[in-house]
Assembly symmetry: C2
Homo-oligomer: 225 residues x 2
C-alpha cells in the first residue's frame, strides 16, 4: 500500500487531493513544520531523496517530485479520467498545463519569491537599493512572463471548464499549489472572472473538500507577500 508523507503547507497537498479524487486506498502520514524555521522536520528530510516534499513510499520504493508521483499513481488507475489518454481530444491541453505548472508557473513564481525574500529580509537602506535593482528584472522578466501565463489561463478557461479540458485532470490538481499562491497575493482580485470561476468549481468538489479536511490547515500554502 502506498504511503503519502504529507508535509503541511507544502506541495504534497496536490498528492493528497489526487488520491482523494481517485478514491485510492493509501496511508496518510502527516508532518508539521518546525514552528520557528518553517522547515520540514529532520525525519521528513531523511525520507526524501532531495529533502523536499512531497514523498511517497511503497515498500522499498521511494519517490519524490510532485508530477512524477502523480504520473506514477495515475499508472495504477488506468480507467481514471484524471489523465486523458493518448489520442483523447483533451490530451494536448492536459499535458500543456500539467507540465507548465512546474516548468513555467512555479519556476517563475520561485524567482519572484526569492526576490521578495531578499527585499523583505534585508535591512534598510540596502532594501531600497535591492528594490531598485530588481525593478527592471521584475517588470521585463518575471512579471511579463507570469502575466502571460495568467492571461493564457484566463483565455483557456473561457473555452473549457478545467485546465485539463472538460473535466478535472491532474493538470488542475498540480496547478492548485501555484494558483493559491498567486490568489493569496491578490493576483486574481480583478480581471480574471474565468480563473475565479475555476476556484469556485474546484472548491465545490467532494474530493477537494475531503483533501482539505484531511490536511486540516487554514490554507494550502504559506502566504509570502
Amino acid at each position: 500500500m502506498l504511503t503519502l508523507h504529507h508535509l503541511e503547507y507544502s506541495q504534497s497537498f496536490r498528492v493528497l487531493w489526487l488520491l482523494e479524487a481517485l478514491g485510492a486506498e493509501y496511508e496518510l502520514k502527516s508532518y508539521d513544520r518546525d514552528p520557528k524555521t518553517r522547515l520540514a522536520p529532520a525525519e521528513y528530510k531523511a525520507l526524501s531523496p532531495l529533502g523536499t516534499a512531497p514523498v511517497v513510499t511503497d515498500g522499498d520504493m521511494v519517490l519524490a517530485e510532485s508530477n512524477a508521483i502523480m504520473d506514477f499513481i495515475l499508472d495504477a488507475h488506468p480507467q481514471s479520467d484524471l489523465r486523458p489518454a493518448a489520442g483523447h481530444k483533451d490530451r494536448a491541453r492536459h499535458l500543456f498545463w500539467f507540465h507548465a505548472a512546474q516548468g513555467t508557473l512555479m519556476s517563475m513564481q520561485g524567482v519572484a519569491m526569492v526576490l521578495t525574500l531578499l527585499e523583505t529580509r534585508t535591512p534598510w537602506p540596502i532594501r531600497g537599493i535591492l528594490k531598485a535593482a530588481f525593478g527592471q528584472v521584475r517588470k521585463l522578466f518575471v512579471n511579463a512572463r507570469l502575466n502571460a501565463v495568467y492571461d493564457l489561463m484566463e483565455s483557456d478557461l473561457g473555452k473549457q471548464a478545467f485546465f485539463g479540458g472538460d473535466n478535472l485532470t491532474a493538470a488542475d490538481i498540480t496547478l492548485v499549489y501555484p494558483m493559491y499562491a498567486a490568489r493569496d497575493r491578490g493576483v486574481f482580485d480583478t480581471d480574471y472572472p474565468n480563473i475565479s470561476g475555476w476556484f469556485v468549481r474546484i472548491e465545490a468538489m467532494p474530493s477537494y473538500i475531503a483533501a482539505r479536511a484531511k490536511d486540516n490547515r487554514e490554507r494550502i500554502n504559506f502566504l509570502i507577500r
Copy 2:
C-alpha cells in the same frame, strides 16, 4: 506532419534530439535569435502561446512547454523505449528525472541565473552590495539544493547508465539542456565521474550526433557565467 519550430540556443534542442532518437518524420523550421538582444524573433514569439521555445505545430494544433511536447510526441510512438511504460522496472526512475529536470533542476538554475544577471549587469558599487545580499540565499537555498540534485545524479548514474534507467529515455533527453548549462559553468569539472561518463555516452549516440548536426551550433545553450 509535425513541425518543430527550433530556436537556436534554446530548450527546443531537446525536441530535436527526441525526434531524431525516435526516427520520426517531421519538418524542421529553424529560427535565429536577434544578434543584439538574443531574443527570439517576432515571428517565433507570435507562434508560441507564451512566447517561449520550443513550439510544435501540426495542422491547427500548437503545443508549447518542453515536456508536454515530449509526452505528446511519445504518444505517437508507443513501441519506443524512450518512455518506459506503466509497470516497467525503470518507470519510477524515468518519471522522477523526467519531471525533476523542470520541477527542480531548471527552476533552481533559473533562480541562480537571475541572481547572476542582476550581479553582473548592475554597475559598481551596487554590484558589491547585491553580491553580499545574495550570498546567504545562494549558499543556503540555491547552491545547497543544486548540489543535492547533482549528488543524487552522480549516485543514480553509478547504479544504471542513464537517468531513465538502463536505456536512454526522454528523462535523459530533457536533462540535456540543464546539464550542459551546468557543465559549461564548470560544475562537473571534478568529483563527478559518473556524470562525466553520461556525457561521453550520450555524445557517442548517433541520434545525438544527428541532432547536433541539424542544430549546427557550437553549443547547445547560451553560456551564462
